[in-house]
Point group: C2
Chain length 322, copies 2
């Protein structure tokens, strides 16, 4: 195998992979069908023509092939039910491989005005809706040297994902990460996942995890199946830091994590360059390095480009109750 | 005077004020002339038609009114000299009020390939080039209560600008801020300015100031004079944090600062809402609050929009030596 040497910008490119408009392609969104909620003129998602063609649309949705729009009919309080009908139908017909033939937890449409609207997690990428994750980076300061002597060095708790996972098997990951489900905030998500994934005490995490920002990017995702290549996938990753004492240990307690390592900053940087991290977790780690002064404009020529690309403005509303 | 109650998004809007492309205006850059360096197909700036009409162009520049381009002729090693000739001429003709009738320090064109190119600081906005600043937020943890009892509370050193300054007289500001000049890095800039503006020891700042990211935005600036309304002004603000002991005192030592205050977080938030901060310093403070967990997604509905807007991708190269 050829040795891999990815730059930080390469790693960001792999995550924020949907093209930006430029002179050669002023509207890279032109290929998509825009998705609209009832009585709301703002699009909330983009669907591929192949997805629109394959979807077993119910009467609750209007498809306009001239305008390239999909509109949810009726009133917004019935929208979640309309999604349930549609996804039940798609599941029973086994239309999309992305659905894995099974139901998943509800994800909200975060920019929906007023009454909340949700649909199943696995289905959200088919509609190109904004998905939300929360990542917690747990770190400590340990003394180098065998006898507890020497200067204190930052160490980061890094898990390796199980090899049986659908996505990114065996990759390195953020200490704790999960999807923010309907009705919960990013902070609650992190507390829940820290207990489930890393055996950390929920009360301790609730009191000490620090909210430090949100990454945003648009992935151009290929899922298996002809109707699922080139999905438009806008994502928000809410980031949290948690400094712990050297005696706190992260350990797996579900089957999503294979094992945890306590890695030095240079070890993490080396693993990033070798492409060992899950795509968006690499971005979370780069953002962590930037915020902690471990990656600076003086050493990284693409610093400004990297920081802007980690915080892409999404083409859909991201504020509830606008 | 009516009471002011600005939201954080209002404050970001005031700084990142140039429109984004949308359905009603897919190319908001269409009005501008694009500026090109020799042998480089990438634009580095945008000029207003009124600026192009008023500028006393020398033979070293080619103006194409059909393509709406300005191209620097010759080779890049002569570009800095060509700018000097042009700005000398504009100064002697008193063409632009923005130049204040005086010379200023050299600013680099940061995306220039190979040989560095610079022009005077006051002239850069006329060409719509990317300008760079560096801001340092100095904070401490002080005990509340009169006797040094009580819980430790974060306090931030906030200066008030002198009333005689050209820009933002009397406004509150970041502890230390300045423009990054040709040949220096953002870190060196902050060390230099911390000594000049806040009487902080340069060695201490060099060892302890932490690089924490870079903000990017595009202001739509009105300067005095008919040819200077609606300037395209893309900016990078490199951000640094410095935690100090409670006995460290920031005090003015030049005439740009009127006085320093040690303000609690809520005091700073109140002053932001009243619109008392310089426009881009308000954004630096909002970013500081976000990174320190003092402003979260749970309390701020526009959190994701604010963070993305604080890190706008600029339409020009920002990496040296591409």
């Amino acid at each position: 195998m050829a040795s891999v040497n990815k730059s930080y910008l390469d790693l960001v490119d792999a995550c924020d992979s949907f093209p930006y408009s430029d002179a050669s392609d002023p509207n890279p969104y032109a290929q998509f069908y825009a998705f609209y909620l009832p009585s709301d003129p703002r699009p909330h998602g983009f669907l591929l023509p192949a997805t629109v063609a394959a979807m077993p649309w119910t009467d609750e949705f209007t498809v306009d092939h001239d305008l390239k729009t999909i509109t949810l009919n009726g009133s917004q309080d019935l929208s979640t039910i309309a999604f349930t009908h549609l996804i039940d139908t798609a599941l029973s017909c086994n239309t999309f491989k992305l659905l894995h033939g099974e139901h998943s937890e509800p994800y909200p449409i975060i920019g929906a005005r007023g009454i909340p609207v949700s649909l199943e997690r696995y289905a959200a990428p088919l509609f190109g809706l904004v998905s939300r994750g929360a990542h917690l980076t747990v770190y400590t300061y340990a003394r180098g040297g065998g006898d507890g002597e020497g200067e204190k060095e930052m160490k980061i708790w890094v898990p390796r994902r199980s090899k049986h996972l659908f996505t990114y098997p065996n990759c390195l990951d953020t200490t704790v990460a999960g999807g923010v489900t309907a009705g919960e905030g990013p902070g609650e998500c992190v507390v829940r996942e820290a207990g489930e994934e890393a055996s950390l005490d929920e009360g301790f995490v609730r009191s000490n995890a620090k909210s430090v920002g949100v990454l945003s990017y648009i992935s151009h995702r290929d899922a298996p199946g002809d109707s699922e290549k080139g999905l438009f996938s806008p994502e928000l990753i809410y980031c949290f830091d948690l400094e712990v004492a050297p005696d706190v240990v992260c350990k797996q307690c579900d089957d999503e994590v294979k094992e945890f390592y306590l890695m030095g900053v240079q070890e993490v940087k080396d693993a990033l360059r070798r492409g060992e991290f899950k795509t968006n977790s690499a971005c979370v780690m780069i953002d962590f390095f930037i915020r902690h002064g471990l990656l600076t404009a003086e050493e990284e020529k693409d610093y400004a480009e990297i920081v802007a690309r980690l915080h892409r403005r999404l083409p859909f509303p991201t504020s509830p109750d606008q």
